[in-house]
């Protein structure tokens, strides 16, 4: 309902201690960005298994931005485990001919307004260019 089907939707996984308040900071500054963006508050993105990302694309999400705390992650070892997991997701995406740029990993701090806006606008431009994701196995079926 928020966007028409061709516009595509961007899912943002934002960490509760860094990127989620960062997104709020963008709101406090009243800086506009595309409305086809849906932010889910997460404790640490390491919670999501590889299939979660692939399922999102299959369900019709056009782009995913993981906005983490980066090296500032409050959970010991979580960021490195997560980075490794994202590598696995890229492999799965490659196998399905899904453009790897549809999944973006970035670190956003609580006052990173400009980087937040750049990431969102870049992803929006990308999904407009690429259109909805098409899985290789679905295309061949």
């Amino acid at each position: 309902m928020a966007t028409d089907a061709n516009e595509g939707k961007i899912l943002i996984l934002a960490t509760e201690s860094c990127a989620y308040p960062g997104a709020n900071s963008v709101g406090q500054a009243h800086s506009s960005y595309p409305a086809n963006t849906y932010i889910l508050r997460v404790r640490a993105p390491v919670l999501f298994p590889e299939h979660f990302y692939m399922d999102c694309f299959r369900k019709g999400i056009s782009g995913i931005i993981v906005m983490s705390c980066g090296e500032e992650c409050p959970y010991e070892g979580a960021y490195h485990a997560f980075a490794k997991r994202i590598d696995n997701v890229f492999q799965l995406m490659k196998a399905q001919d899904i453009d790897l740029r549809r999944l973006r990993l970035t670190a956003i701090c609580t006052v990173c307004n400009r980087p937040f806006l750049k990431e969102v606008n870049d992803m929006n431009a990308l999904i407009k260019e690429l259109g909805p994701p098409v899985f290789k196995d679905a295309a061949e079926a």
């Binding site: 928020a2 308040p21 409305a35 889910l40 404790r43 999400i61 997991r85």
Partner: protein
């Protein structure tokens, strides 16, 4: 009724949806009635209301009424950021005898109405509320984790804020560690003489508090100390305090245990060798203060002319100036005419003022300098009537109680005011005429007349800037505002709390303030500490991993993954120790059976939210 409500918590989900106008903050851009209408037929939704302010008593009572009538057993509120009111609504639910964790928050202000407008904003609100409903349907009742809290608070900073908070905490029976990096108590206030609006000696205020601190058996002072280690959580922090001898030995003449003007209150105990100590504490109060802006070389002639000084230097020098002379003397020079310039290092404007190497400017108003400047101007006029005072300002902000009087009295005492625009700031040059320096400015008060006047002294009213506490900020992961000061959760509703549980703010670590405001904040932080630790325990959110025993096949992968060693094998089943689990979720992704999840943040709930986002 209460038992009936508890019974209903595990029944088929019936969601109550409450959408806030937030005055007009949300409803000016989001058609909230339309949102309420759009979500009312989503399966599981029982009621869908709107209210002008959901956080108000009538708003909260709306939720409580539906719970008590048995209409709903899940709550979704769509309003501002959850950091502001998630706890408010959980509290409201709890007071209606329902489990507070059967609640989900949709952020339709910071992440919608403040960044989108018109139909897209309304459509996005529908989607965000639908996603929250999807999550709420899957929520399970949870119990908070109760842990003992130390009856102990650590105050970082022994300035007037730290002293005020320490005295109040000790009076309430809480043990205090007062950590001060210098050998003296009193902080920046020690560098002042008389303070507005009462004209009391700053030293008297410091001495009054420091004497009480020194006598209290509950307060331990750690001079020459800094926090170098931090771990734990609200109620149970462990801090490492590192003491080291000061770089410059404390001179013998200020080693008596009382207040020494412009140095501070000497508490003794200056360490002679480095040492470390571990502290267990329930609350941390940041009373780390501010540092004064240091003008760059050449800024209003500073550094190039010894007749250009800061207001702090003037206050120091005036204290040594002879009292009975008709003319002010500074550094053995007669000051027939002094120029005082406001807003130095404050209210800086990109493109006009020079940014530092990080492209940063102090764009905020430092607030206290106007009254401080006028107070000094009045003191000159009162004590040295033959010295003329010229005051160059952008705007006068004598904002506090009784402070406007300073402006009125300065006019009565013939202080001459000139108003300048930031892009036409006063220019100071050295001349060979009657006066060593000349001030040139275009004066707005005389319709842009160019003024050129000789002076003996230029005083720069420099502003406050955030203290350099980067290592503490990074160690404790504290939120910092774009002005580099520590940031509270909410300026009005939670003004001395940080988002990090158990860490409070006292004074100018948060923003420029005068001593009145500093003591207000310090007492507020102390009161919050007493309220928190007074119960003897704290309740932590139960967002830790839990195993679904009927799904677990004992693969042990979660145990390998857990960095906290919070999971062990009990027979053939994994078992989580909730006291050790941090709720990071590393175990969730690796379980081949999806048998482990973080309570309140389960993978299934996220999948349900994604389904709703795709669908609506």
């Amino acid at each position: 009724m209460s038992d009936e409500i508890k019974k209903q918590e595990t029944a088929e989900p019936r969601v109550g949806v409450y959408i806030c106008h937030c005055g007009g903050n949300i409803s000016d851009h989001v058609d909230v009635k339309k949102v309420a209408e759009a979500v009312k037929d989503i399966p599981g939704v029982e009621v869908s209301h709107t209210d002008m302010f959901m956080c108000s008593d009538p708003g909260q009572e709306l939720i409580q009424k539906d719970i008590k009538e048995g209409s709903i057993n899940r709550v979704v509120v769509a309003s501002c950021a959850p950091s502001l009111h998630e706890l408010t609504f959980r509290g409201a639910i709890s007071r209606a005898d329902m489990n507070p964790y059967l609640y989900e928050h949709a952020n339709i202000r910071e992440q919608d109405s403040w960044v989108h407008h018109g139909d897209p904003a309304t459509s996005k609100a529908v989607t965000l509320v639908a996603a929250a409903i999807a999550k709420a349907r899957g929520l399970k009742p949870l119990e908070a984790i109760r842990v003992d809290a130390a009856n102990h608070a650590t105050i970082i900073g022994g300035g007037i804020a730290g002293l005020r908070a320490a005295v109040d905490l000790a009076a309430s029976g809480i043990e205090v560690a007062l950590i001060e990096k210098t050998p003296f108590l009193g902080g920046n206030a020690s560098k002042l003489d008389r303070v507005f609006p009462t004209s009391e000696k700053a030293g008297d205020l410091i001495a009054y508090l420091a004497d009480t601190v020194m006598k209290s058996p509950l307060i331990t002072i750690y001079p020459c100390s800094e926090i170098t280690g931090f771990e734990g959580y609200i109620g149970n922090f462990t801090l490492t305090v590192s003491k080291k001898p000061p770089a410059d030995a404390v001179p013998g003449d200020i080693r008596e245990k009382y207040f020494h003007p412009f140095a501070g209150y000497y508490p003794g105990q200056t360490p002679t060798e480095a040492s470390e100590e571990s502290l267990t504490t329930g609350v941390i109060i940041f009373a780390t203060g501010f540092e004064l802006y240091e003008p760059s070389r050449g800024e209003f002639g500073y550094g190039d002319n010894e007749e250009v000084i800061t207001l702090r230097q003037l206050i120091r020098d005036m204290a040594d100036s002879p009292q009975d002379s008709g003319t002010l003397r500074i550094n053995n020079r007669t000051v027939r005419r002094v120029a005082m310039i406001h807003c130095v290092g404050s209210r800086q404007i990109p493109g006009i003022h020079e940014a530092d190497e990080d492209d940063y400017l102090n764009e905020y108003c430092s607030r206290t300098c106007c009254t401080a400047t006028l107070q000094a101007a009045l003191e000159i006029r009162d004590r040295y009537p033959d010295t003329q005072v010229l005051d160059f300002y952008r705007d006068i902000r004598t904002y506090g109680h009784n402070q406007e009087d300073y402006y009125d009295r300065a006019s009565e005492k013939n202080v001459l005011f000139f108003r300048y625009e930031p892009d036409e700031s006063p220019v100071i040059t050295r001349e060979s005429g009657e006066y060593p320096l000349t001030v040139r400015v275009r004066d707005k008060l005389t319709f842009n007349e160019e003024i050129e006047v000789g002076v003996d002294l230029v005083v720069l009213a420099t502003g406050m800037q955030a203290a350099p506490i980067t290592s503490l900020v990074e160690m404790m992961k504290l939120p910092v505002g774009s002005d580099k000061f520590l940031q509270e959760v909410h300026p009005k509703l939670r003004p001395v709390e940080m988002a990090n549980g158990g860490i409070f703010l006292a004074g100018t670590s948060q923003a420029p303030m005068d001593i009145n405001e500093v003591c207000n904040a310090a007492q507020a932080a102390a009161a919050k500490t007493v309220a928190l630790l007074g119960k003897g325990y704290v309740e932590l959110d139960p967002f830790v991993a839990a195993v679904e025993t009927d799904k677990c096949k004992g693969s042990g992968k979660c145990i390998e993954e857990c960095p906290e060693k919070a999971i062990t094998m009990n027979g053939n089943l994994a078992e989580v120790n909730p006291a050790l689990c941090t709720g990071c979720g590393m175990c969730v992704a690796v379980c081949p059976e999806n048998a482990i999840d973080v309570q309140g943040w389960s993978l299934q709930e996220y999948e349900d939210m994604v389904d709703a986002i795709v669908k609506f």
